[in-house]
């Protein structure tokens, strides 16, 4: 970014790449991703880790990037929604959400994708109830919940090779 003013050099490992940024160590990871690295898929929702819009994977575990300081991910691997699949070949969860038209405004969905991806990694065959429990930290205001749950179950089936 050309608008660095102050800050200090640091590096962060995001989506398999080591990236240099210029900011204070206590800057929330969310702003590093969105502004310093241009990864806008991770979204600001509340700044308090209460809505899930800002979820990323840190060493494979879901973490709220809005209240996670940069220093806390030193030597860890951060994965954002942009790191899951490509425009040409979206991640199965992303694909299932699109196929199921499981959104209205869409703002909460990158966080949902992160949470669902983490769920399917530890539980490849979740029940409807288990999907809901895993997504309980993700708020959706449009009422797309049931479509999202169906899409996650469809993605799970695909990942298991059943679809």
């Amino acid at each position: 970014m050309d608008n660095e003013r102050g800050g200090a050099p640091a590096t962060v490992l995001v989506n398999g790449q080591c990236r240099a940024v210029n900011t204070e160590p206590d800057t929330a990871l969310l702003y590093v991703l969105r502004n310093h690295l241009g990864l806008k898929g991770t979204r600001f929702g509340c700044g308090l880790g209460l809505c899930g819009a800002c979820l990323v994977l840190v060493d494979g575990q879901p973490a709220y990037s809005c209240d996670l300081p940069l220093w806390a991910v030193r030597d860890k691997e951060v994965t954002t929604v942009e790191g899951l699949g490509t425009p040409r070949l979206p991640h199965p969860v992303t694909r299932a959400l699109i196929a199921g038209q499981a959104a209205q405004c869409g703002y909460c969905l990158s966080g949902v994708i992160i949470a669902a991806t983490a769920l399917l990694k530890r539980n490849p065959d979740p029940s409807d109830t288990e999907v809901r429990a895993a997504l309980d930290g993700n708020l959706c205001r449009c009422g797309s919940h049931n479509r999202i749950v169906r899409a996650v179950l469809a993605a799970a089936a695909e990942l298991r090779g059943e679809a």
Binding site: N35, K40, R43, Q101, G106
Partner: protein
Amino acid sequence: MSSALPPSLAANPRLGDWLRVRPGGAAKDGSAQEGGAQEGGAQEGGAQEGGAQEGGAQEGGAEGGAAGGGFVEVWPGKVELGQGVLTALAQVAAEELDVGLGRVRMMPAVTGLSPDEGYTAGSMSVQYSGAALRLVCAEARGLYLAAAAARFGVTEDKLTVADGEFGAPDGRATSYWELADDDLLDRPATGSYPPKPVSAYRLVGTSVPRLDLPDKIAGRPRYAHDLSPDGLCYGRVVRPPARGATLTGLDTAAALALPGVLTVVRDGSFLGVVAEREEVVLLAADRLRAGAVWDRRPTLPDAADLPAFLVGAAAETTVLAETTVLAETTGSAEAGEPPAPGRVAASHEATYHRPYLAHASMGPSTATALARADASASASASGDGRASDTDGASASSGATGNRDQGGGQDGPRLRVWSHTQGVYQLRAELARALRLAPGDITVAHVAGAGCYGHNGADDAALDAALLALAVPGRPVQVVWSRADELGWAPFGAAAVVRLAADTDPAGDVLSWRHEIWGNGHSTRPGSNPAGPAALLAAEHRAGGADIEPAAEPPLARGGGAGRNAVPPYAFPAYQVVNHRLLEMPLRVSALRSLGAFLNVFAAESFLDELAAAAGRDPVEYRLSGLADPRARAVVEAAARRSSWADWTPAESAGHGIGFARYKNSAAYCAVVAEVTAVTEVRVRRLTIAVDAGLIVNPDGAANQVEGGAIQAVSWTLKEQVRFDRYGVTSDTWETYPILRFSEVPAVDVELLPGGGHPALGIGETAQGPVAAAIGNAVYDALGVRVRTLPLTEENVVAAMEA
């Protein structure tokens, strides 16, 4: 002829304002779409980089679109709010033009370029914008068909039209793209080209996937929050610590000492800061807050007795509706008169209440603004800081070095990118607040998170404008905090409804009275052109005045507090009275369905009380009073689909029904709710039947209905703005909880066949019936009538003990 045109087309009759044929570049790939957007207008800005801005606003064609040829730009005045309206309107346009959906580019609403179709609100977009586009596109097709026929020397009826190509019997062919000529559409619509009959539709009525969702789901930049023009800096506003608090002292030193803080803006009690980096501006805002001294005073009513405040406050009382003609369906005495005393077997009365509700968008309100580099700050707050001592000047030139020198000497003085529901209305209000001419301002729409009505979007635009005017040449992005979004955005109005009815020996209603106490529902920009500017920062600036309470729009336009207060049943006599509050302790404005949410909850609950008192089945009781066959059909469908008649009573379980025709003029909706309740209510299943006439996109419509229903479950069970005498205290997701995944019921939506009827607005139709169905199901489960929303454990227990 123009008297026959739909209203927004009559107001914006030039065909070329709605539609432009563009040769070339139709290949369906990202770059072609971006190209289309760039020559559009959102890009007006200088605030462009990457795909966010155009992507955010423009919806490209569908998958696998045209290879070669051209495309059509469609410029509706309506905006995408997450409801899928641009996809539905693209279907309408492609249908009438006979082009593939892949050739349609939906352009963002931008002042000066798009037709002014007013607000995107009130479940009216498909109904009205769809009607306008249908005529525009039918006429455009006719004009191009005539041009093709002239070229080939044949009559029009000899030509075929397929995916934009006009074929002659001898094999010759031309196309919109080959004939593209802006002069052809440089004429007013006549409305004399008949659109296709419904029976000929191939795209309308099909579940085309949303055009905007792949990018939004995959995390590509599509939102106003994602705009990142060169030279972007970040602004934050420090709100007062209480309603009505005034700023009496300020120490800016600590904030200004941070690296890259560009300026502090103070204007009366409006306080903001701009910095190069977002992490810095957040810290600077905290320091500014710590350095601010405020004079606080209690201005809010006692939250513990909100109904008493609402009923007791100064109000203007109006009879919104009453029976004035013979009630033919019952053959009773002249309506409006009290029923003959001998026939009245029982009199009933009950009072219902809803609290203030928050829009509670997932994405806090945001706006980006850019003041022309030579724009004086006279219109704005005065900057109280200093330019960055690093290289602010070169950053400024960076902002203007993009496409059209947005920050330079050309173009409007102020450009604003906003997720507003009405670009023209916002522009006019910004102009009033800033004492600029509307022509000095451009407002371009970029998608936000779902708003469900008038949230902080417009307020954020003035915030950004005030800060941008203090750093001319630099685009400034303001994003509200979660606390400000839940605490300072307008709320849905709290209200009280009292119902009274006299019934005959069979339990049928002889007379019905519906009385409402509460604020008017819309303080949107433009709703009060004679009053102070209806934007939050305008209240707080020096010399600012409180936004005034809303007026009550006429029922013919859907009403506000009175929306859906007129009973849909064939009651011999009824009266609807509104007590419009003349003070507004908490700013309220339009929230999805306005007064219909409480009116339908109250009326349909009360109807159930009457049915129960008469020992009659709620479905049968409703059907006995409904004359409109379409109304009867949705009630019957919801009952049938939910197996109403086969319900097996069980401990702590209940079912209930609610019905309304939204605004008494839009879609019909009946809902059956199944709940379990001891003291905590859980909704297990909703069965919903809707008749919305012609449905352009069935999957999109079902998605809207289900989403609205789930949101209504959340309002009904959980939501309540909490406040003390000074301010709102429910300003986090912990203090303003909404429904979570594990609490969401199964939802089954049946869309009844349209039966050849025109499209009816659908986006808000479920809100009231869902609340009523849940309340009635709770009564069925517990035998207790809970008349105070939300149906929390606290309110259920209170009703039990009453």
